[in-house]
């Protein structure tokens, strides 16, 4: 549905994006993470057909983006830019109507009403954009992005600066888009958002340094750990577990943290050992490092370039 092949972009001597490849299928939410200046917006702009890659290519469906096809392909893409970019003096309906006409929709007025209704802003249709709160402006911008029902939706920091309620609405929208089989590419700094909506995560720092599902990244970087809370001090049980082959055991008061080496099925064995040794086991949970920790570890480390193997097979 959307494929980036060896995307590279230079601005003069500065390399902004280096050899980025991935392939996305319908119903996939793909999060682009990276520090400021990592090339996220440049990547989105190349995907949206706004700027040309210095080398590499973008494919939307079966069409390759080129100066000749860009105008047509932009009609299949919805791009939410970093700022809402509304015409402040015009009312909300008029803002959307211009885009409905630019996209050549058959019944622009009807399409706008439908979209305003879907986003719950029909009652604000007559308000000028300048009167709206930041959250409402973002909602209008999202309505504008989806007005022409694009198959590919690119969202550049869609929840930046929004209050928790508005941010949640955006996340719910992304999930609805996923359910309707849109391809969604999300550039963000909000790890919580990514955790909740992304099916795959790419960490970008000019080049891709990681690309996988959040669970796979977590397992790769941190392994699988069990957190067990006991009814007594935990330290005496560490040596008992070591005898059973669990060498990486950390203790803190009555809590044990045990590396189970990507074997969640080890949980019954661990619990049995502890119970036989006289421990009162209160709770057993799989430890789940936050995505933020994964992200920071990826950025700290000297990680080899990642690539989506699907992109190479096209």
């Amino acid at each position: 549905m959307l494929m980036a092949s060896h995307l590279t972009r230079r601005f003069g001597s500065r390399l902004a994006v280096d050899d980025v490849s991935f392939a996305l299928a319908p119903g996939e939410v793909f999060a682009l993470l990276g520090p400021n200046g990592a090339g996220k917006t440049t990547t989105l702009r190349m995907l949206a057909g706004l700027i040309e890659p210095s080398s590499g290519s973008v494919r939307v469906g079966s069409d390759t983006m080129s100066p000749h096809s860009a105008s047509r392909l932009r009609g299949q893409i919805g791009f939410l830019t970093e700022t809402p970019g509304l015409w402040e003096r015009l009312d909300v309906r008029r803002n959307l109507l211009v885009y409905a006409r630019l996209h050549g929709l058959a019944k622009p007025g009807h399409a706008v009403t439908e979209m305003l209704d879907a986003f719950g802003i029909l009652d604000r249709a007559g308000d000028t954009a300048g009167q709206l709160s930041k959250g409402l402006k973002q909602r209008v911008a999202l309505a504008r992005t989806l007005l022409h029902k694009p198959g590919v939706v690119l969202l550049d920091e869609p929840t930046a600066g929004l209050d928790p309620g508005s941010a949640r609405e955006v996340r719910d929208l992304v999930l609805r888009l996923r359910d309707r089989q849109h391809v969604v590419v999300l550039s963000t700094h909000n790890m919580d958002e990514v955790e909740r909506v992304a099916s795959r995560v790419a960490v970008l720092r000019t080049r891709l340094i990681a690309l996988d599902t959040p669970a796979a990244l977590r397992a790769r970087l941190f392994g699988t750990r069990l957190r067990i809370v006991l009814g007594q001090p935990a330290s005496p049980f560490a040596s008992i577990l070591a005898e059973q082959g669990f060498n990486d055991v950390r203790t803190q008061e009555s809590t044990l943290s045990i590396a189970v080496d990507r074997r969640p099925s080890s949980a019954p064995l661990v619990v049995r050992c502890l119970v036989e040794a006289g421990a009162d086991v209160y709770s057993v949970i799989a430890e789940k490092p936050r995505l933020e920790e994964i992200y920071l570890r990826l950025l700290e480390g000297d990680v080899p370039q990642a690539r989506d193997t699907n992109a190479d097979h096209g």
């Binding site: 706004l50 700027i51 047509r72 015009l90 504008r144």
Partner: protein, 270 residues
């Protein structure tokens, strides 16, 4: 292939936005006001103030001598003929109205979109550069031409009210109408295309307006050479000038499309 519905969509938006931002008309309105006022001061106010008639001046009589043979002024007395000569020659100044109007609107048109961060979503639509520029040019030109037509109406009404009877008829010659409704729009188109070209490369409206202001110099020069009698805007001269300006405009449109670098606008404008 240009899609006229997309051009119309953006044009409608620009006109609606302009309607809600009338301050953009201030430069053109001031230009129009002084362009209209100046010939009335020369032909009506000063003679009334000093208590002399224009026809008392032998200089005017000499200047107008050949002009008096024209059919449009044949029925006028000496005073009326001199007034007609002044009002017709000063019409060139009215050309400045669409020029000033177009420049201020056009410079705002591209840079204003960028400053308001509305250009990137616009560039993300199927709209091509040619369509975008065409809409921007028309969105600046049409309101300026409407203002010029209004000013011409006021000018004619003023002449009919304050000048000698019949003088206003001299304003309905081929030359007069050619100056206002052919050279004016073409000069305005020239100025605004310069402004659009420049505004797609610079980041503030003043720079764009300053470059566009270059068009004012030849117009002012045209007025001076007309008054000295060394160059007269007869219908054939107007036609040649119109053809030349048309060629310049086509060239500027092509240059504008080339210069309007979507990437530079997105990546270098801060």
């Amino acid at each position: 292939m240009a899609d006229s519905s997309r051009i119309r969509a953006l044009l409608d938006k620009d006109l609606a936005d302009l309607w809600l931002n009338p301050a953009l008309f201030i430069p053109a309105s001031l230009t129009a006001f002084f362009s209209i006022l100046l010939p009335f001061i020369v032909a009506i106010v000063i003679p009334a103030f000093v208590g002399e008639r224009l026809s008392d001046s032998s200089d005017f009589e000499i200047a107008v001598s050949s002009y008096r043979n024209q059919p449009s002024v044949s029925g006028l007395n000496s005073e009326g003929a001199i007034q007609a000569w002044i009002f017709q020659h000063f019409l060139v100044l009215l050309v400045l109205t669409p020029v000033a109007g177009s420049m201020s609107i056009a410079a705002h048109s591209v840079i204003g979109e960028k400053q308001a961060r509305t250009l990137e979503p616009l560039l993300a639509t199927p709209m091509t550069t040619f369509e975008l520029l065409t809409a921007k040019v028309l969105g600046s030109l049409l309101p300026s031409l409407a203002l010029t037509a209004l000013c011409f109406g006021i000018y004619v009404a003023g002449v009919a009210a304050f000048a000698q009877p019949g003088v206003y008829r001299a304003l309905f010659t081929l030359s007069s109408l050619g100056i206002v409704f052919l050279l004016g729009p073409l000069a305005a188109l020239c100025a605004l295309q310069l402004a659009v070209c420049v505004s797609s490369r610079v980041n503030d409206t003043r720079s764009a307006q300053q470059i566009g202001a270059l068009v004012i110099l030849p117009i002012a020069g045209l007025l001076v050479v007309q008054l000295t009698g060394t160059f007269v805007l007869t219908p054939p001269v107007i036609a040649y000038l119109a053809i030349a300006l048309g060629g310049v405009n086509i060239g500027l449109m092509l240059i504008g499309v080339k210069l309007f670098d979507r990437e530079a606008i997105l990546t270098r404008w801060k």
